[in-house]
Amino acid sequence: MLVKLILLIVCFLIAGAMPSLSGGETAIFGTPIFCLLLGILGAWSIWCCFRGNRHKSFRGWCFIACHCGVGLLLLGAGIGALKSEKTQFAAYIGSAPANELPGPGETSFKLDFSLAITDFKVDFYPPTYDLYEPPSTMGDDYVHVKSFKPDLDGQFNIPLINDDSELKDSNGNWKAQLILPDGKLLHRATQTPKYFEATARIVKKDGTEYEQAFWVNRPLCVDGWRFYLMSYDTQHRSYVALSARRDPGRALVILGIWLVVIGTSLLCFVGHGKRVSEES
């Protein structure tokens, strides 16, 4: 029965993973029937821990850990889906601290503290350069010939450019464009950010305030809210795009994940290894 349930969930997952013309294939994962199947799987996983005398052996405890883990993980995810508060917004750099976050639509979230972004810095990888040929007749557009990316040694190897330092201005920045001796135009295309970091000032209700830097993979955590640096204003660097989330199910999900990982490992490595060595 459990296997049938898993296979049914797999069927839903395959349906949601197949590309569709409308691009709305993942909508299936929000349907009540799929959520119900996951709920049954979670409940089943926890229920099977209490069958038999599993707690009497080490292997049984490993079984309980990984199956309870699945249940807790799904429970935490369910709580998160129903109860979490989340929003994405642009925070202007240098603006006054605010204790309200703009929510989806007209809604907003009231905070127990105020937050302002005071600083932002970004560092880039070397850019890609596009080579364009001048138009053969007046009024036509330049024709794109080739793109040049730095190779593994960081060299562009652009014909007619002997040294890559010619691509940099006196401040050491990559030039936006350059006319080559043969009349072709070299234009700087996108630059991939290597690292970006924002600094936030947090003012608590009791008046205490402090500054904290945060970056991608290192969210800012304040009073249960977590702020994630997602992106920034690439044109003028005037704002950063933040995602904020308060998720009461987070601890359960993390606990569930570690129980699944540790339980499965013990069940496969330790428990089974011991059993086989005893048999042999």
Partner: protein
């Protein structure tokens, strides 16, 4: 030292030696096969070191890097299952499994420089990718053994292949589990969301669930055949996760788009 040509020659030699090790194991020259496999592994290791030196960070930036590393995983895994499970006779399967990913690298672009976007600069990066690599490597060998089990007409041999495959999957599954769920923890740290139903994530979950189902039916009545079937379907899903999602633009994975 690590130039394009030298890397190509090293890769070619490693691939050739893996092939020779497989042939030797077919000829029941186990000792010679092991040493040739080891020599191939050293050359394969030099290619991985070369990639590391050339790109300046762990070499998992594109499919070429990943396949070269994948080939490197098989010999240590063979030593592990030989010592731990007594499966010394599976050497040829591991050599065979090492040969193919390395052969595949000849059809990949090798000279891509990789710009690690900020989301990838995380302590989760190496454990997540490494656990998946080792897990996929072992799952590949387990699948070959499972196919041999179904192919074999002799009942005892079939059972032996099946048990060996199951034993090897017991190494693979925990690592796959860690890879899958460490990805979720990493996503939560980077974007504030554990799961985005990205095609790569969804197929990885499908693969994991199919292997779990295969384990769950194993002990039931008539479970061996169903387990073998689910195991092979799981391996097919693994191939979709590993190759199809990355290489076919229609399956486009936005969050894993850097693995080209």
């Amino acid at each position: 030292m690590f130039t394009d040509v030298s890397m190509l020659i090293l890769t070619g030699f490693a691939c050739l030696l893996y092939g020779v090790a497989f042939v030797l194991s077919l000829c029941r020259r186990a000792k010679a096969s092991f040493w040739v496999f080891g020599l191939g592994w050293i050359m394969n290791g030099l290619v991985v070191i070369g990639n590391f030196v050339l790109c300046g960070h762990p070499p998992f930036g594109n499919m070429y890097h990943v396949l070269v590393f994948l080939s490197l995983c098989f010999l240590p895994l063979y030593c592990l299952v030989r010592a731990w499970r007594g499966l010394g006779w599976t050497l040829g399967y591991f050599a065979f499994a090492s040969f193919f990913p390395l052969l595949g690298t000849f059809f990949m672009e090798r000279n891509l420089s990789w710009q690690r976007v900020p989301a990838l600069q995380s302590p989760w990066f190496v454990p997540h990718v490494l656990s998946y690599m080792v897990s996929y490597a072992t799952a590949a060998v387990a699948a070959i053994l499972m196919m041999s089990s179904l192919w074999s007409k002799d009942d005892a041999a079939s059972r032996r292949f099946h048990d060996a495959s199951q034993s090897i999957m017991r190494v693979s599954l925990p690592l796959m589990t860690f890879g899958l769920w460490s990805g979720a923890l990493w996503a939560e740290e980077a974007w504030g969301i554990y799961w985005s139903w990205d095609p790569k994530e969804t197929w990885a979950l499908i693969t994991w669930l199919l292997y779990l189902a295969s384990f769950h039916v194993f002990d039931s009545r008539g479970g061996r055949k169903r387990s073998a079937f689910l195991h092979l379907v799981g391996f097919a899903a693994l191939l979709v996760t590993f190759l199809v999602v990355n290489l076919l633009p229609k399956f486009g994975s936005a969050l894993h788009s850097y693995v080209k």
